[in-house]
């Protein structure tokens, strides 16, 4: 008898697809264990002039109480009801660093890559998913802006500057709006209006790896979801 599972699946699909209500998801990602120490960056002469203090790599940015920054948190499925993006995210190059280090965009959403430095950079995106095209463009002049977009979902696309090889950043590309990047305290909050249903919430960090949780949200639900990732 195969009717029952099919019906169940159909009902579940309907339940998750219909925007019966909207929920808010928020929480925190913490790091367990001691991460390896970050390394000091040896700038070249020009970039060195932009820094008065030593600068370090940003693999593990952890708050004193263990909050892990730069974790990309997102709904794995593609919930119905995403609104078209209205903003244009910016990946900036400031003082020979990419800012932010991790950010998210929507598929086919144009985003800007800006050179705010008084020196030249190149912007080299290295996506791996078919259809997302690798590109390498020069930005020799301060204030230059290049607009790009990716057609397919990919977590995460690496950006780097080959002129200054310590410069790299990551952009998550999703086909819906429910994603966030943890702040310096490890906190995140997904955009509201997540339709009621059951989802897989993913917390992905470049170094500490991935953790997932199944969540079921109902209309106007406010749900706290916390993750713990390990440094070892």
């Amino acid at each position: 008898m195969r009717t029952a599972p099919i019906l169940t699946t159909a009902l579940l699909t309907t339940a998750t697809a219909l925007p019966l209500g909207a929920a808010d998801i928020y929480g925190r990602v913490t790091l367990k264990g001691t991460p390896p120490p970050e390394k000091k960056i040896e700038f070249d002469a020009l970039c060195g002039k932009l820094h008065t203090k030593d600068a370090f790599t940003r693999h593990y940015v952890v708050s004193p109480d263990g909050g892990l920054a730069n974790v990309f948190v997102y709904i794995k499925e593609t919930p119905a009801g995403s609104k078209p993006p209205t903003d244009t995210p910016v990946l900036d190059q400031v003082n020979c660093f990419y800012e932010p280090y991790v950010m998210g965009v929507r598929t086919n959403q144009p985003f800007k890559i800006k050179n705010s430095d008084p020196l030249m950079h190149n912007v080299h995106a290295t996506p791996k998913v078919a259809g997302n095209k690798e590109f390498n463009v020069g930005q020799p002049v301060q204030g230059m802006v290049t607009e790009k977009s990716f057609p397919n979902r990919e977590v995460l696309v690496r950006f780097k500057c080959d002129v200054h090889p310590w410069m790299f950043a990551y952009v998550g590309v999703l086909d819906h709006q429910w994603f966030a990047v943890t702040d310096k305290d490890g906190k995140f909050k997904l955009p509201g209006d997540l339709p009621a249903g059951t989802y897989t919430l993913v917390a992905y960090h470049l170094k500490a790896g991935e953790a997932t949780q199944q969540i079921t949200v109902t209309a106007s639900d406010k749900k706290e979801v916390n993750f713990t990732l390990a440094a070892k």
């Binding site: 030249m120 390498n136 020069g138 080959d162 170094k207």
Partner: protein, 403 residues
């Protein structure tokens, strides 16, 4: 001293100059990859939209300095080698050079007018076509170099252009695989130029042939093959841009042989703090690294055995015996540099020295094979006579400028 001798001496010096320039180019290429600067100039053959030779000095910053210097130096090597092939081919090379130069120039101009993706290749072809036409315009009516030297000259002529094209396409097509091929071909190209310098030299002609046993030839051949294999592995590792896949030596992640299961690889990546934009390592990177270590040990042992056998079989002072010993010293130093590369976390200067010494190890290994395969003048003359139907062919080299 005859005019022919003088001309031969200058030809040898010129070929040696080409080889030294190529070794320098390989060194700069090594710096480019060691510093992760391969794509610091995103366009080709232009540089940030400028004619390559007119990029303002103020733009030569960061990784651009290495990449741009590599391109300029490559242009010098390309020009030197085109003229070397003209010298080796003698006056008979003028017509084919003119035809090739014209064809490249026209094809290049056609590509410039074609699809945007091919514009770069078009500029490159048109540019090198101009250089080839210049070489064809050299008026000297010198005779071709003897033996197979003109053929080697033509091989160098095509290879240097292919190398330039591969280097450029690696930039515009963003293809790492091309980088691997580009890196390995450079080493073979260097050996070709060294071979031209050696084979055209008076030293080579004066050299008395010694009987080298087939067993010793096999040892030398196998050892040279291992060096080539090591170069291929090394180039593949470098162009995967994963940084140092195994951070300790002589152990590997504290073990004799590291784990390569997904859990272990994830653990390695968690503990890596890369300063540069290296991508996370995969099991393939660890395997390549370990194979390179095994290959290094095998190469060192094989070269030691070959040098030992040469020492026992050949008289003191024999060039092959001396070359084999020099080769052993080079390979031993290269082994130590490999370890130093790991201990310094792949410091750019150390890793680059490792690349340069690898090239020299290939050249020296190739030289031992050349020396071991050298026939006596009588045997060479007999072979020439058997393959050449013309009875009037001059027996003496005659690649001097015609009088």
């Amino acid at each position: 001293m005859t005019v022919a001798d003088t001309s031969s001496r200058w030809l040898t010096r010129y070929a040696a100059l080409c080889a030294v320039a190529t070794l320098g180019l390989i060194g700069i290429g090594g710096l480019v990859t060691s510093r992760g600067a391969g794509l610091a100039v995103p366009d080709w053959p232009t540089s940030y939209g400028y004619n390559m030779f007119a990029l303002p000095i103020r733009f030569w910053q960061g990784g651009i300095f290495y990449e741009h210097t590599h391109r300029l130096w490559a242009s010098v090597v390309g020009t030197l080698v085109v003229f070397l092939s003209r010298w080796l081919g003698g006056h008979r090379a003028r017509r084919p050079l003119a035809l090739i130069g014209l064809t490249e120039l026209l094809a290049g101009l056609a590509l410039v007018a074609g699809p945007p993706d091919l514009k770069g290749a078009g500029h490159f072809l048109a540019g090198i076509g101009g250089v080839v036409l210049l070489a064809a315009a050299v008026w000297a009516r010198n005779e071709p170099a003897p033996g197979r030297l003109p053929t080697l000259g033509w091989a160098a002529f095509w290879l240097v252009q292919l190398q330039g094209l591969l280097g450029g396409l690696r930039v515009v097509w963003l293809a790492d695989e091309i980088g691997v091929f580009h890196g390995v071909l450079a080493q073979g190209f260097l050996f070709l130029l060294v071979a031209v310098a050696v084979l055209s030299s008076a030293w080579w002609r004066r050299l008395s042939a010694a009987t080298v046993s087939p067993a010793l030839r096999r040892w030398l051949g196998v050892a040279t093959g291992l060096v080539v294999l090591q170069l291929v592995l090394g180039a593949t590792m470098r162009h995967r841009h994963a940084g140092l896949a195994v951070p300790d030596f002589p152990l590997a992640y504290g073990r004799v042989w590291p784990r390569t299961d997904p859990e272990a690889i994830a653990g390695y990546n968690r503990q890596r703090i890369e300063v540069h934009a290296a991508r996370p390592i995969a099991a393939t990177d660890v395997w390549l690294h370990m194979l390179h270590r095994l290959g290094a040990a095998a190469t060192l042992l094989t070269v030691t055995a070959a040098a030992w056998k040469a020492r026992r079989a050949l008289a003191p002072g024999h060039p092959l015996r001396r070359t084999a010993l020099a080769w052993l010293a080079l390979v031993a130093t290269q082994f130590a540099l490999g370890a130093l590369t790991v201990w310094t976390n792949k410091a750019a200067d150390v890793a680059t020295a490792h690349v340069v010494l690898g090239s020299l190890a290939l050249v020296t290994g190739g030289l031992t094979c050349l020396l071991a395969g050298r026939r006596s003048p009588e045997a060479a003359a007999n072979a020439r006579a058997a393959s050449d139907p013309s009875p009037d062919r001059p027996a003496r080299p005659a690649w001097s400028a015609a009088t």
